[in-house]
């Protein structure tokens, strides 16, 4: 906690895209003019009531919002502490929160006259959401996906292809999300004139972290209103998993200035924090990658290290810059859950609530299992159920079968 506490945790970023020392625009000159154009186009859209009206229409009728805030009665009983609510982002069209952001960016891309959309994807959920909206609006769609992820998220690869997108397996580096992002950036530099880069999380150069956060904030805004209706007050705590941090930012942001609300982000601890993992706050330090300064996993020479998580969507050696700032200011507490903890949570939730979660939010559930029993029964805890587990069923089945043998 080295910086003085700000008056508001919701006023960032500054006009240069900084959250404290984090964020910024660390990109090649080729991209700079386009990033400035995007910043302008987004500012204009934000100020245009027609843009919001268009978004609201699609969010309601195409995505299926608002997503329910559901009292998880059996999980609550099982854990014997806090009253647990799920924000059911897994019920959105395409099966995760990713669609909230993609919708916003695609509408902005249309306003900018861009016809070719590229995206990176880890678990494939962002890729599926992008492919879906490109199909809906008749846009060309290319999705970069690490070859390792293409293997472990086959179902989503097939979905993207059915939706008319071209999936490009990335063979460089660790062949996961980080490398998919490098390759998408290379495509963007090459095709800068006609291409819109639809980034899947609250990372990248300014204005992406802010713009993606704004589009995802619908999660927290709805939660606020729904909790008010159900319980007549604010929740006491919020929990969400963190890959780049977009589902977490979306839930957290509208509550950052409510000091009574405890906030927890959950990183992927992989095999454990002393071994291979993807917890950049717990195991990394500030550096510069993919257009922004943020916490990153790296060695003493500043070389980026490979992340590991059972969950392709969390398998990234960085985190969005606003999270780095919220960590350093102490407003949000960052925890981590291992592969095994996530797997246990995945199974528990399937059996207790009849909801098969994606492996990503299973990390958040794993920490709910730890935190909820220590809280009183009138403590209202909201966890972001960011996606459904259909895509993970073959992978989890393989792992569980392997264990029985």
């Amino acid at each position: 906690m080295n910086s003085a506490l700000p008056n508001s945790f919701r006023s960032g970023p500054d006009e240069r895209g900084h959250f404290g020392i984090f964020g910024g625009r660390f990109v090649a000159e080729t991209l700079m003019p386009l990033i400035l154009d995007l910043e302008k186009a987004y500012a204009e859209a934000k100020a245009d009531p027609a843009f919001q009206a268009e978004m609201d229409g699609y969010l309601k009728h195409y995505v299926g919002r608002p997503s329910p805030l559901y009292f998880a009665e059996r999980l609550t009983e099982h854990l014997g502490g806090a009253k647990i609510y799920f924000k059911r982002e897994e019920l959105n069209h395409t099966g995760s929160h990713k669609v909230n952001n993609v919708l916003g960016q695609i509408v902005v891309a249309r306003r900018m006259g861009k016809k070719r959309i590229i995206a990176e994807t880890g678990a494939g959920q962002h890729g599926v959401a992008t492919a879906t909206l490109c199909a809906r609006f008749g846009l060309e769609c290319l999705v970069y996906m690490g070859a390792v992820d293409v293997e472990r998220q086959q179902a989503n690869v097939i979905r993207m292809e059915m939706l008319g997108a071209k999936v490009i397996p990335v063979q460089s580096g660790s062949r996961t999300l980080k490398d998919a992002m490098n390759e998408a950036l290379r495509d963007w530099v090459t095709n800068v004139h006609n291409t819109f880069y639809c980034i899947g999380t609250v990372a990248g150069p300014h204005p992406y972290p802010m713009m993606v956060r704004d589009f995802q904030s619908v999660i927290g805004l709805e939660t606020r209103a729904q909790m008010h209706e159900l319980e007549g007050r604010l929740p006491d705590s919020l929990i969400a998993c963190i890959g780049g941090g977009s589902n977490a930012m979306g839930l957290f942001h509208p509550f950052l200035d409510d000091p009574g609300v405890e906030i927890f982000g959950v990183e992927a601890a992989g095999h454990g924090l002393t071994q291979l993992h993807a917890a950049s706050i717990a195991g990394g330090r500030p550096g510069v990658l993919h257009g922004n300064r943020t916490y990153l996993l790296m060695d003493d020479d500043g070389q980026i290290q490979d992340a590991h998580s059972i969950s392709a969507g969390l398998d990234y050696p960085g985190i969005g810059p606003e999270h780095s700032w919220l960590h350093e200011t102490g407003r949000v507490t960052y925890l981590s859950a291992t592969d095994d903890e996530a797997l246990a949570a995945f199974q528990l939730l399937s059996r207790l609530e009849g909801i098969i979660p994606a492996l990503e939010p299973a990390h958040a559930i794993a920490k709910v299992m730890e935190l909820a029993p220590k809280r009183p029964r009138d403590h209202l805890m909201v966890v972001n159920l960011s996606g459904r587990g259909d895509k993970d069923i073959p992978q989890v089945a393989d792992i569980l079968r392997g264990r029985k043998q």
Binding site: R25, F26, T30, L34, S172, V192, Q303
Partner: protein
């Protein structure tokens, strides 16, 4: 302040010729061979030498230079070793300008002030850092100027007349015009369009304008050199280096010669250009 870069361009201007600038990855395929290659470059015809600082995630580079960086990292190259290599080179050559090219993170982690002091004392003259646009000048560009190092900025086909002044404001040494929208080693440059772009940039600055990305052959180098103050070749040299390696990616007896040979023929191409009158 006059750096070796300024002195070299002044000298070339007197001779009426364009500079030939080489790019190779520091530490490729291993630190020892890399030093031998760099030592051989001035004699083979390199007027200015760019040394790549390997980085795991080179987002503006194509497959050839990505692979070169990975070979170097695998062989144990680090920023400290790159600077040590420069110090070795300087023992025998105090005039050939040396420019470090790469990405910001390894420098940021080394510590900006410490890096600038170490680079200057090792004998570095300029820096090209791909992911630091003018919007981030306070990070490294301004401190580098203060430390007496040239900060060489990239201008690209997307840098229009409105933006050029911002790009040129704190540039020194030379301006590096990226002749294509794209990554290294992809498309080839169109010399007519490049000529126009160089002329456009020259309306905004007195600095030398050099051109790189997409130049592979002596003929192409000559065409570019007609209009530009310098021609940068990277991927073609990295490819020649790679082709000389054994099956395991290790240097062979022919590696240094293979690179020097390509450098010589490209340098001939550049020297064959008749410089357009100013």
């Amino acid at each position: 302040m006059t750096t070796r870069i300024d002195a070299r361009f002044a000298e070339l201007k007197k001779q009426g010729r364009s500079a030939f600038i080489t790019f190779l990855m520091g530490g490729d395929p291993d630190p020892k061979t890399s030093l031998e290659i760099i030592k051989a470059l001035p004699k083979a015809g390199a007027d200015i030498i760019e040394i790549g600082m390997p980085f795991t995630d080179p987002m503006a580079d194509g497959p050839a230079i990505q692979a070169a960086g990975l070979r170097a990292l695998k062989a144990g190259m680090t920023l400290k070793k790159t600077l040590a290599m420069v110090r070795e080179f300087r023992k025998a050559d105090d005039t050939t300008p040396l420019v470090l090219m790469g990405y910001y993170n390894p420098i940021y982690i080394h510590g900006v002030d410490k890096f600038l002091a170490d680079a200057k004392s090792a004998g570095i003259d300029g820096l090209i850092i791909v992911d630091l646009p003018p919007e981030e000048d306070s990070e490294l560009c301004l401190p580098a100027m203060k430390a007496g190092l040239n900060f060489i900025r990239l201008a690209t086909p997307t840098t229009d007349d409105k933006r050029l002044p911002a790009v040129l404001a704190n540039t020194s040494g030379f301006v590096y015009y990226v002749s294509i929208t794209g990554i290294t080693g992809s498309a080839s440059a169109d010399s007519a369009a490049v000529g126009q772009a160089v002329a456009r940039i020259k309306r905004h600055t007195k600095l030398p304008v050099c051109v790189g990305f997409g130049i592979r052959t002596p003929l192409a180098a000559r065409a570019i050199a007609q209009n530009a103050d310098g021609t940068v070749v990277g991927t073609a040299l990295v490819d020649a280096l790679r082709a000389s390696l054994d099956g395991e990616g290790n240097a062979t007896a022919g590696t240094v010669e293979a690179v020097a040979g390509v450098v010589s023929s490209l340098a001939q191409g550049v020297r064959g250009a008749s410089q357009a009158a100013e």
